[in-house]
């Protein structure tokens, strides 16, 4: 019953976000600030993780394809498929749920406990629109970050394959180009848009409706990370079944 109530409250919150918009010049600057904070501020960690994940996927694939009858190009093929289909969109989203999600929950939660949200409400500002809408719009740029993650992941795989001696460069690149289905990229970006919406709104919900003090802000950030990750994993399964199944 508690969970049903929370789900209902979440959807009401999402509805409220799109009501009574904030003045455009103010909203524009908020959106730009959030793009800088949420997207560009996360690029470093996304690039770092993607590079090494790509490398690890390549090494593990190579170590499992030890039959002399299997072509080395399969290493490139498996790396590409793993990175584009799963690691770049889903793994990066889990990282973002931790980094961006905690930031969103703690910043909105701190505004709640220090009465800054009450101050907005008293002034007649739609606080949900003011705080959450720019984050949703900023997260529309998230597929750009995932595209970078795909590229860097595959590049990390190439480096690991070539410099680790697992596959020659030509074979790896041949594998990357093998049986390429462009819908797989579309599928990855559809997932990314859905995850972006979840990463922007679910942590906002946890921050906006929290009660208590500094300790509760910390707890809300943890809860928000757990639930955002759970929702991403479940949606990942549903979307994969719907789009590829």
């Amino acid at each position: 019953m508690k969970y049903l109530e929370a789900i209902g409250k979440y959807f009401i919150m999402v509805w409220e976000v799109f009501k009574k918009p904030t003045k455009w010049p103010i909203m524009r600057s908020l959106i730009l600030k959030e793009i800088d904070e949420l997207i560009f501020g996360s690029m470093g960690i996304i690039i770092f993780i993607s590079f090494f994940i790509g490398g690890v996927v390549t090494i593990q694939t190579a170590l499992n394809l030890n039959s002399p009858f299997l072509p080395k190009s399969l290493i490139g093929f498996a790396t590409r498929q793993s990175v584009i289909l799963e690691f770049a969109p889903t793994f990066t989203s889990i990282i973002m749920a931790g980094k961006v999600g905690s930031y969103i929950t703690s910043s909105i939660g701190t505004m709640r406990v220090t009465e800054q949200i009450d101050a907005l409400e008293v002034m007649g500002v739609n606080s949900l629109n003011y705080l959450v809408f720019p984050k949703i719009i900023a997260m529309l740029m998230y597929p750009f970050a995932v595209a970078v993650a795909m590229f860097v992941g595959v590049f990390g795989g190439w480096i690991a394959a070539v410099f680790g001696g697992y596959a020659p460069s030509g074979e790896f690149i041949k594998g990357l180009q093998m049986d390429f289905d462009s819908f797989h990229v579309t599928y990855a970006f559809i997932k990314t848009f859905v995850f972006a919406f979840v990463i922007a709104t679910l942590p906002s919900y946890h921050g906006f409706y929290m009660r208590g003090g500094a300790l509760e802000v910390g707890k809300a950030s943890t809860t928000s990370f757990v639930w955002t990750s759970v929702v991403i994993i479940i949606l990942n399964y549903i979307l994969t079944q719907l789009l590829l199944g």
Partner: protein
Amino acid sequence: MIIVENLHKSFGDSHILKGISTTFEQGKTNLVIGQSGSGKTVFLKCLLGLFEPEEGQICYNGQYYSELSISERRDLRQEMGMVFQGSALFDSMTVEGNVMFPLDMFTKQSRSEMQDRVDFVLKRVNLIDAHKKYPSEISGGMKKRVAIARAIVMNPKYLFCDEPNSGLDPKTAILIDNLIQEITQEYNITTVINTHDMNSVMEIGEKIIFLKNGYKEWEGTNKEIFKTDNKAVTDFVYSSELFKKVRQMYLEERN
């Protein structure tokens, strides 16, 4: 003027406000006092429209809040200024940005007009060289003054203050009290202050209501509070030896 009629508010099973009726006059500093948990903050939030009462009416200069449409309520909110207990300044904005925020949000004034207004109100609260500082870089007393400046920048008809003196040293607390009273009289605002500070009660309480367990136990002025024999009020207001002596001296002087 704000007229409150038979206000009731509950949260689940706990009945917080139990039929409060009173009048807050324009141009006067109206104080709401009472022990922690007496319902002061809930009462103030009902006045601000942040909580919807289950029963009773609040009338702002002849307009009943419950009869207003959503857009009329929004317009009314823009006539209200609020000074929160912790100041509630936006951390991400400078002092100037905080004060300019309501103007930027709700008016079509040019940048220079807004800047002039911000300079004027900051000067009014005696903050001249803090424009570019962030809330984390200024003292508690300065934060309160910025909060007052933000609350009055839109020329409000109603000013609400939730424990404006909490956490301040006695000298700064008196400065803040005097500032609120001067602004109230200067702009003819209806001001309602929630306070625990007995100095404020004695100094600026032109009208005082005392809440106890959600009921209005007593109301009067800062002169009448010396003479009252209501035990709940005297137990609360004269709980310290100092105030007992002040009262004794006041009564002896009058006799």
